[in-house]
Amino acid sequence: MNIFGFLKYYKKESILGPLFKLLEASFELMVPLIVARIIDIGIKNGDKPYIIKMCLLMLLFTFVGLCCSLTAQYFAAKAAVGFAKRVKHALFEHITSLSFSDTDELGTSTLITRMTSDVNQVQSGVNLTIRLLLRSPFVVGGAVFMAFTVDKTSALVFPAVLPLLSAVVFGIMYLSIPLYRNVQQKLDKVLLRTRENLTGVRVIRAFCREDSERTAFETENTALAGIQKYAGRISALMNPVTYLMINIAVIVLIYTGAHRTYDGYITQGAVVALYNYMSQILVELIKLANLIVTVTKAVACGKRINSVFAVGTREESTASEVPAPVGDNAVEFRHAGLTYKNAADEALTDISFAAKKGETIGIIGSTGSGKSTLVNMIPCFYPATAGSVLVNGVDVKEYPKDALRSRIGIVMQRARLFSGTIRENLLWGNENATDDEIMDAVRIAQAGDVVDGRKKGLDAEVEQDGRNFSGGQRQRLTIARALVRRPEILILDDSASALDFATDAALRKSLRELDYDPTVFIVSQRTSSVRSADRIIVLDDGKVAGTGTHFELLENCAVYREIYDSQFRKENA
């Protein structure tokens, strides 16, 4: 996948734009010729009407040139903007289809920069390329061509000097581009250290690391300034060297021109014209050098975007039909295991259990024991790397993605709401839910007071990330969102942590009374949250340490007893 392929939708603009630019440049190239005529014919003969005529012609050319240029600018802008729109659309679509492990690996902040600033850089690159990239070589080539029409012998200087000039321009670019990339990397380091010193200021001060941080910063800053100066020194060569070369060419040109004039082959006006063409080349070179920096940046950003498109190697389930259920297990794990990308060890090892329809399963275990990982495998957010996970008796990998996920209501650890209204957020669960259905779900989730507490009720505004709601309110609304769906499988991933004990208990009670009898998974660190479950799975270090009811586990599972004791020990003492 190469994003520059999107330009094919703007063939017309990408071709016509530069074409009109070339037209404009051609008119510009006529100007030295006209001046030559003014000198050779008008001035020589003292023919004032002729001079006026020529000047008017020059004005006409200029005006036509303006019109061509405006047309070209329009096409360039249209192609660049349209191109950027298509890239953004495709990129956004691609990002939303990435698997969880791809998203984990890339990191959301990079994805956001690529979606925004990188695409903008590419857009201006495309815009400038259409406007200028063809123009400069054309003007240079045109100037050479025109010089030949003036006098072939004198014009030989042009083809002699051009390769040298290109060698200098591209040589310096070749040397400086990696340097600029290096500058960017060093700047990233300086930025990182500044950020860290602000976010970690309490820790840094607590450990008295101010001085060593300052020394580290100064070292990095000096390295940055050093590479900046070095890169600057290299690119500072560009203008003086090209300037000198052009002037040497001018000297040769005029000297040859003088001889040719003496011998009667050309006129004084022709020499002026040749000189003017050489000057035009100098001007274009300077423009080209500036343009190339922008284009290089755009190419670099384009590569960053391409690399996002390159990720996403996940095996898309090819199934198009929803498989028919087999047996009466809602969820079953058969020797399932999961190794995260780039991880050394399995996060979950050899998990086997089955949950019948309507059962409530509690999952408990210590930090990092794999509780969240286990429930995230049910909607196939992370496909099993060993064994298999079955929903309704069929391997989750064989479901069409949406068909699988629409059966499941999952409430994640981090309660996340989106900007909009409460209703819009809850409708995510089921687009067609009526207000009554929504309010039912809200009441079951113990969020009735959250909605009633807002003047506008369901139409109350939710700010970005739901920051105008407290942690507990957010949690209850996200539970309601899952319930609006009336899911076959309901997963609560430590999603009652911000609720007080009484609300938590009321929530569990109303979940038990749901009329559609879903299979419920409750992940928690509190034994009180899982003790009434039909079955509790105790995880320890990615393995099952025990399965059973609360009392069975107290009897025969040391890990569970330890967890229980850590919470209730003193009461028995």
Binding site: A225, Y243, A258
Partner: protein, 587 residues
């Protein structure tokens, strides 16, 4: 308006930074003048040479040779001057920028916590990074183009006036036309750009929100609907971007059009002068016309450049003002000198009539007094916002008391250098912070010279050894900014390991185990108990089960102590603590 006001002081401050490089500055001005004048001299030489080429059989070769030799020398000198100029400016700019960044960073280390707590991180970072960068760009452009531009304009004017005063005046009158045209366009595109950046911001906000919440979005299969929403904004953005980009791109062709018109007028007037003065003594020749035309072309360029530089410089100075604002910020009160000799702190902490508030209108801690003997274990409990974390801020001297005093071993803590005080306190906060680097880098923060055995022992005590060992490179695993992919609980374990390694005489644990499961927590508590043996410790916790072992429990409410005592005593009292404690078992 506010920006304008800041420009002058910012310029003065900038000059103070540049003063260090005054030799370079003087050299820069001189070389700028030299290179501009030399470059202006070249068209004259070319014009004179062309005048020697009159026609067939009529060419002054000797004079041409002399003129061209001079041309070569001048061009070489001009190129050399240009190169030297770039090098000087380069050195000066990046030198100044380097100094400014160092000063800014040094200031960050000295700022009072109240400043850092009240200013968003992103804002300060953007001052040190983006603003300084913008400043560098403006400065470099200013150095390079401002002096050269001015010298070029004046030089061109003088040369043109000398060649032909009338035509020169014509050029002077006509050139502002292109400036007007450019200004007219930029004024009219301003609103379009504003619309564009608003729409772009809207799109960024949506992208940010949806990509941050991508897992929820996928869980609810909302990809299609979100994409539709995105496309709607994307379409609007396309339309207003097209307008903004197209209209702003008119500037170049239009100014070029105006310049070309001027060129044609000069050609006309020049040609007429050549004809009318033909044969006169100080005649206006064809060569002169060629020089004049080339000047007319050059003359407009520095104008456009200088107007660009002025905008850029204004922008740069506005950025500089923001950086200087940071650098000039009042630092925290400096440490008292001469108190370095407190070698060993035992850990007696006393609060004497302490008053403190973050803002004068909201008093927080009032008349707080407490004596903590060395080696005591103190637990601080109370509802959210009662001032528990504030007490810790005061002990660590992140903030200083408004009145009253805090003493350590009888000395006012304000008389103890911060590094001595803090070096004797180990602190673990609820909000974990890890720096990018290896796990080892993070653990040895308090004791860079710790041996591997000590590190492993600390990790075992903090129960982080198990998961560290399972990481791809163990202690040498590199973690990204703020812990990267580690879970919240794992991050807390690392922060605890950090303190386990230091073994300072005083300990502060502010919700240090909130994200760790209760079972591991108990094991860590045991390790802490061993560690806290003989050390003064302050423990803040929500989970009341974690603080039962404390020697003294301080129950706070609204900035005051409402109860103190041991767990059993407080329960027996059946007061505020008892009601807090019992609420967690309500079912």
């Amino acid at each position: 308006m506010k920006e304008k006001k800041n420009v002058m002081p910012a310029l003065k401050r900038t000059m103070r930074y540049i003063r260090k490089y005054y030799v370079l500055l003087v050299l820069s001005v001189i070389t700028a003048a030299v290179s501009a004048l030399l470059m202006l001299y070249i068209p004259i030489l070319v014009g004179d040479t062309i005048d020697c080429i009159v026609g067939t059989g009529d060419v002054g070769f000797e004079r041409i040779a002399a003129l061209l030799t001079r041309l070569a020398a001048v061009a070489a000198a001009a190129a050399a001057a240009q190169w030297v100029l770039s090098m000087i400016n380069n050195k000066m700019t990046y030198g100044v920028v380097h100094d400014v960044r160092n000063d800014a960073f040094a200031k960050i280390q000295m700022l009072p916590m109240s400043y850092l707590d009240s200013h968003p991180t992103g804002e300060t970072v953007s001052r040190v990074i983006a603003d300084v960068d913008q400043f560098a760009d403006g400065l470099l452009m200013g150095f390079t183009q401002f002096f050269t531009g001015i010298v070029t304009i004046i030089g061109t004017l003088v040369f043109m006036l000398r060649i032909n005063a009338k035509i020169a005046l014509l050029v002077i009158v006509l050139t502002p036309l292109s400036l007007f045209a450019a200004k007219f366009i930029s004024e009219h595109t301003y609103s379009m750009f504003k619309k564009q950046s608003e729409t772009r911001a809207e799109q960024t906000a949506l992208t940010d929100e949806m990509i941050s919440g991508i897992k929820v979005m996928q869980a609810y299969s909302r990809e299609k609907q979100t994409l539709e929403k995105f496309d709607e904004i994307n379409d609007r953005l396309e339309k207003c971007s097209l307008k903004a980009i197209f209209y702003s791109s008119l500037t170049n062709p239009v100014t070029r059009f105006v310049n070309n018109m001027v060129y044609a007028v000069v050609a006309l007037a020049g040609a007429f002068s050549v004809i009318s003065q033909a044969g006169a003594a100080a005649a206006f020749t064809v060569g002169r016309l060629a020089s004049l035309l080339s000047y007319a072309n050059q003359y407009t360029k520095p104008f456009n450049e200088i107007s660009g530089v002025v905008t850029e410089l204004q922008n740069a100075l506005a950025c500089a003002a923001r950086i200087f604002e940071l650098i000039d910020e009042e630092p925290q009160t400096p440490d008292k000198t001469g108190a370095d000799d407190i070698a060993e702190i035992k850990g007696n902490v006393g609060f004497n009539d302490v008053y403190f508030s973050y803002s004068p209108e909201k008093p927080l801690i009032r008349d707080f007094s407490l004596d903590v003997g060395a080696g005591r274990r103190i637990a601080i409990v109370g509802p959210t916002g009662c001032g528990k974390t504030t007490l810790i801020n005061l002990i660590m001297r992140f903030y200083d008391v408004n009145s009253g005093s805090i003493t350590v071993d009888g000395t006012d803590s304000r008389d103890i250098p911060r590094r001595v005080l803090r070096g004797n306190i180990g602190m673990v906060l609820q909000e974990t912070w890890l720096k990018s680097g290896t796990i080892r880098d993070n653990i040895v923060m308090g004791r860079p010279d710790a041996s591997d055995e000590e590190i492993i022992a600390a990790a075992k005590a903090a129960h982080s050894y198990g998961f560290i060992r399972r990481l791809p490179d163990g202690f040498d695993t590199v973690i990204g900014e703020d812990g990267g992919s580690l879970s919240q609980g794992q991050k807390q374990l690392l922060c605890i390991t950090r303190v386990m390694l230091c073994r300072p005489p005083m300990l502060i644990l502010d919700e240090a185990t909130s994200s760790i499961d209760t079972r591991t927590e108990i094991r860590i508590q045991e390790a802490f108990s061993r560690l806290m043996e003989g050390r003064t410790s302050f423990v803040v916790a929500h989970r009341l089960s974690t603080i039962r072992e404390a020697d003294d429990i301080i129950v706070m409410k609204d900035g005051n102590i409402v109860e103190t005592g041991r767990h059993d005593e407080l329960l027996a009292k059946n007061g505020f603590y008892a009601s807090l404690y019992n609420s967690q078992f309500a079912e």
